[in-house]
Amino acid sequence: MGKPTHLSKADIEAFGREIDAVRDEVMNDLGERDARYIRNILKTQRYSEVAGRALLMAGFLPPAWLGGVGLLSLSKILENMEIGHNVMHGQWDWMNDPSIDSATYDWDNTCPAHQWKHSHNYMHHTFTNIVDLDRDVGYGILRMSEDQAWRPQHLAQPLTAATLATFFQWGVALHDLEVERLGKDKTFKEAAVQAREIWAKARKQVLKDYVLFPALAGPMFAPVLAGNITANLNRNLWSFLIIFCGHFTDEVEMFDVEETRDETRGQWYLRQLLGSSNLTGSVPFHILSGHLSYQIEHHLFPDMPSHRYREVAPKIQEICERYGLNYNTGPLTKQFGGVVKRILRMSLPHRRKRNTLEPTTSTDAPVYAKAA
């Protein structure tokens, strides 16, 4: 059925066709320019990693340590955000290059690639912001929507969120275990298999960053270890920041299962639009965010090469304007402010939720019609 809006069914389908046309135009135009872009990113990531790790070896000098951490953080952020996440979406599969193919690429993250492709590409991107289906709504530990029942532990969720930010990649790694389903429709045995896979993957990063490279540095063991920990921490905080701004800003919409039953393509596009929020900023900022600063475009076209989001965004925004739909965008400070507000607001029980006699309606800001 789809969420009611001021648009008629025919309007929504026409909207969907316009979005499709934007997609087709880009996908039929992919070529050398795109290949050059990703190859430059790959080179930048690898050079900055090599340089960063080399500088850390001279980490007894504070400027070298800081420079090393900076470069290694840059490399890790590029690898997870602009390369790993996007490659695993299949954005570069058309190049037929096995080194950046979604089927075989593995990223520098404690989460195994194939579990990520299940929890993220399938669950999150298909059921975006549908409470109880999209497990990215609060990741099973945070309450991000009124439609999620309040429990006393949510009082501590500002602290939970800060902890999640610090250890973000570990949260991502454990995400597909779906602990809340354990003992219900998921067996402990299934989870144990997954847990073994996670450890097999995670220990490679632990070994590399916390044992081998420090050991290789000999007397520089401590500065290298500290540098690697800091670089992983920086990447965790940065990804948390960007990702939370993508779906949990103030005006973003949540959906319930009933609203989204038997969605058409147009309605699916509409949900992706209303469930996502963008960040404004410079080109380097967009690249470092893996172009998730164009979360709306990413959710409309998950397998479009990311740097193209910059080009299609004005077209999408123009279409939204014509249909009177909210295109949620703003600078990082404003959007992250909204995220913080939501985390705080949802940590408290909501008045309406207590009254079980009244039909529950979403109290999220009604944003279907921007002008309305």
Binding site: G31, K43, N96, S99
Partner: protein, 353 residues
């Protein structure tokens, strides 16, 4: 690469230091040809022997395991951002250090046409290990007939060069069909060899300059003692279709065919309809191979050589009747993996795509 360096880079410690990326990912920063395991090469010389061909001299890296004379290789190049791979025969003898591959312009063939027009020194190429069973065993008996047409000359050249390099040429007749003298690759080399090699007789037929296309009478005239010869045959589909039965009827000795240059019949028409189950699309099966039908329906299945060699396009068919475009044989399949590029629908087909 220095073997010691290669051993160190291939060790599990270095593997752990680069994980989850591969050592190759970092070697690519230095030179795209470097790899611990994948055969790759660089064009060091590109020569245009004829107006519509290019001969590439390729220096492979040390992962290239060599080839047997007559074998082919899957050669990949990046065109407009996309890695395309096609099959080509190696024309050089195994003893030569550089790999020689001659490519002829080929209708809509993107890879061939790109190489003919643009290949130059420095071009990076991705290689597969050499494949194919079109090669003479070390003790292969002569007298032999080498029979080729058009670009089918390349694997046969490799066999001939191998025999000459190893001083094993005894009694060989080389019959080659080309459109004109200017179109014929390796014309000058063959003429020179015919002059100086004892035991080699070369007959070239230029079909656009009055020469007969291959037929029983002309073949008997060119090779009167065909009955005593082992034959090595390679050429376009139409040529192979005629030559194969003629030779088989005239000689008891083995007939070796190199099929790939002749993989596809000219018209690859299917019939019936194709259903793509996962994407829930139905399409007419008439527009060509199942791969082409899938692409026409907007799907993007994996593919490589598009000629039945590399198996990259293998895909499960739930049920249906398919025609093998190489042999025109029709068969019913159920839950089996088939190569989409060399099969067309021969009735209704359900593909898991």
């Amino acid at each position: 690469m220095n073997p010691v360096v290669k051993k160190v880079l291939g060790s599990s410690v270095v593997g752990a230091l680069t994980s989850p990326l591969s050592v190759d990912d970092y070697l690519a920063l230095i030179d795209g040809r470097l790899s611990l395991s994948e055969p790759r090469g660089r064009v060091i010389h590109a020569v245009r022997q004829t107006p519509d061909s290019v001969t590439l001299y390729i220096e492979p890296n040390d992962n290239w395991q060599g080839h047997r004379p007559g074998q082919h290789v899957l050669l990949g190049v990046d065109l407009d951002g996309v890695r395309h791979s096609r099959c080509f025969s190696v024309a050089s003898a195994p003893d030569q250090k550089t790999l020689e591959i001659t490519v002829k312009r080929n209708g809509d063939g993107r890879v061939s046409n790109y190489l003919v027009d643009h290949a130059a020194r420095g071009q990076l190429v991705y290689l597969s290990p050499a494949e194919g069973d079109f090669y003479p065993e070390p003790g292969t008996a002569q007298p032999a007939l080498l029979l080729s047409a058009g670009s089918g000359i390349t694997p046969v050249m490799s066999v001939l060069r191998h025999w000459i390099a190893n001083d094993r040429l005894r009694d060989v007749v080389f019959v080659h069909y080309a459109r004109t003298r200017t179109d014929m690759i390796y014309a000058a080399e063959l003429e020179a060899l015919a002059q100086r090699q004892h035991g080699l007789r070369v007959e070239t037929v230029f079909t656009a300059d009055g020469g007969d296309r291959i037929n029983e009478a002309s073949l008997r005239r060119l090779v009167p003692d065909l009955a005593t010869r082992e034959t090595w045959l390679c050429g376009p589909a139409g040529f192979m279709d005629v030559a194969d039965p003629l030779v088989a009827a005239a000689s008891e000795w083995p007939l070796h065919r190199e099929q790939f240059a002749a993989t596809r019949r000219e018209a690859a028409h299917g019939e019936g309809s194709v259903r793509f189950l996962k994407s829930d699309i139905a399409a007419s099966g008439e527009s060509g191979s199942l791969l082409e039908v899938a692409e026409g329906a907007g799907l993007k299945p994996n593919y490589g050589c598009r000629m039945g060699i590399c198996h990259a396009c293998k895909c499960r068919v739930a049920e249906g009747s398919v025609r093998d475009l190489r042999t025109n044989r029709v068969r019913d399949v159920r839950d089996s993996d088939i190569q989409l590029c060399i099969h067309a629908a021969a009735g209704d087909v359900a593909v898991e795509l």
